[in-house]
Symmetry: C2
Subunit: 234 residues, 2 copies
DNA sequence: CGCTTGCTTGAACAGCATCAACCTTGGTGG
DNA sequence: CCACCAAGGTTGATGCTGTTCAAGCAAGCG
């Protein structure tokens, strides 16, 4: 994965340091909960394969998905800063993660200035994604929101070289996930997707997403193509 | 400000280091734009007094406020991570800020492990606030959202000892700001506030906010009182 | 004073939610 | 092999929540 152009290459010394800090790799099955809402965790993760999402819920069960996690994303920083995690992390697919003990975070800050900086970069980067989602949910119409989400997830998959020969990327979300991410009802999400399909701007078949007309979709979404800067991979 | 119990006290050595890194203090008038949307800034700020907000806008002018900034908040981390800032920061009141050059951030990471860790903590903390806002905008009703915002801002003011003898805190927002923060229209925000006022749970008079019945308001908002951990002040 | 900015209120409308079915698909076990 | 079931997707009808449009009002300020 480190060879992908999205990721900034690390020095050999940094890599070996990380090897020393990491506790190991672990595999989870689809649907598993990586971090429980309200629970304290003593570990941090980097997602190596698969997809997941962070979410918060209200007392009566209404759920809001905060963002989606893809390979290379760092999980658990927000959770760690004080005792317990205010939100949960759940897996959409089978996934493997790299596990770090929280003490490892401290070690990195003490001995690897650049890596520490990278972690802060990742935290800030994730906040920007959440910022973007908040703008969508607060100010975009249902159609714009759905379009935005599809583009956003497609671009991220693209940067991870997950596009297959037909131009489709993995898309393990149910319509309920889309609804929960966009602050919409399940039914309305379904009808909005249908409209976009009829417009010929998206195709969803057996867990894969294809965008036959990205330009048109971007116009629908009021989306501006910002080139994504190469990011660190911890 | 450092004497407030919300802020974790710093070592004398850390304080002197920060003194060396900071570029100075600066004063801005109400309504000024601290960071322009889409512009690159070479500085970071800590808000010392006054209030501000971060926001994003769509191409047709729809605006979403991402969060509000109060004394002690660190401004500009998200902006700095890659070239240009995707959102703006505007002042609600006259304000004074402490200015750091971006190189100073790097200096802190190299020489002050604990402070570097603190900065990351602040970034993660701010993301949690945005997370909370996203849950509100995505899944709460208009009344719940307004209630939530009032409680949240009141609590933050409280932790900064801004409550006066009548139990009121500064509240420099217009109804338009509230609407933009909650993803509501101005008119509906007005009517919702009116209902809360009639319920006797909030009072808004000449830029001040009072909550005569916090318990009732918290119930309306589906709010859980999480004690706020002492935070670092950079 | 007149002007601007922010607040207030009513009326009409629309976007999205809710309710209630029904359909399809893949997996399971008899 | 097929009956059954659960999960996810689809669709129409109805109505509430919140938007938009349109005024009018109050207060601060040149």
């Amino acid at each position: 994965m480190r060879k992908l152009p999205t990721f900034r290459p690390l020095e050999p010394e940094q890599l070996s340091f990380l090897e020393g800090v990491k506790r190991g790799e672990r595999r989870f099955e689809a649907g598993a909960t990586l971090i429980h809402e309200g629970a304290a965790s003593r570990e941090l993760y980097t997602l190596l394969s698969g997809m997941a999402f962070r979410y918060g819920t209200l007392s009566d069960g209404r759920r809001q998905i905060l963002n989606f996690l893809m390979p290379g994303d760092f999980v658990g920083l927000q959770e760690r800063v004080d005792g317990q995690s205010p939100h949960g992390v759940e897996l959409l697919t089978e996934a493997s993660v790299c596990v770090f003990p929280v003490e490892g975070l401290w070690e990195i800050f003490r001995h690897q200035t650049t890596l520490a900086f990278d972690i802060t970069w990742l935290a800030a980067h994730e906040e920007r994604i959440v910022d973007g989602n908040l703008v969508s949910v607060g100010r975009r119409t249902a159609t714009e929101r759905v379009a935005m989400l599809l583009i956003h997830l497609y671009k991220r998959s693209e940067s991870l070289r997950l596009v297959d020969e037909h131009g489709s990327v993995p898309f393990p979300l149910t319509q309920q996930h889309i609804a929960d991410a966009l602050g919409l009802s399940l039914v309305h999400t379904n009808k909005t997707l249908r409209r976009l399909r009829l417009l010929g701007v998206c195709e969803l078949r057996n867990q894969r997403l294809r965008l036959p007309n990205p330009r048109a979709l971007q116009q629908v979404a009021d989306y501006y193509d910002r080139p994504l800067a190469p990011r660190p991979l911890i």
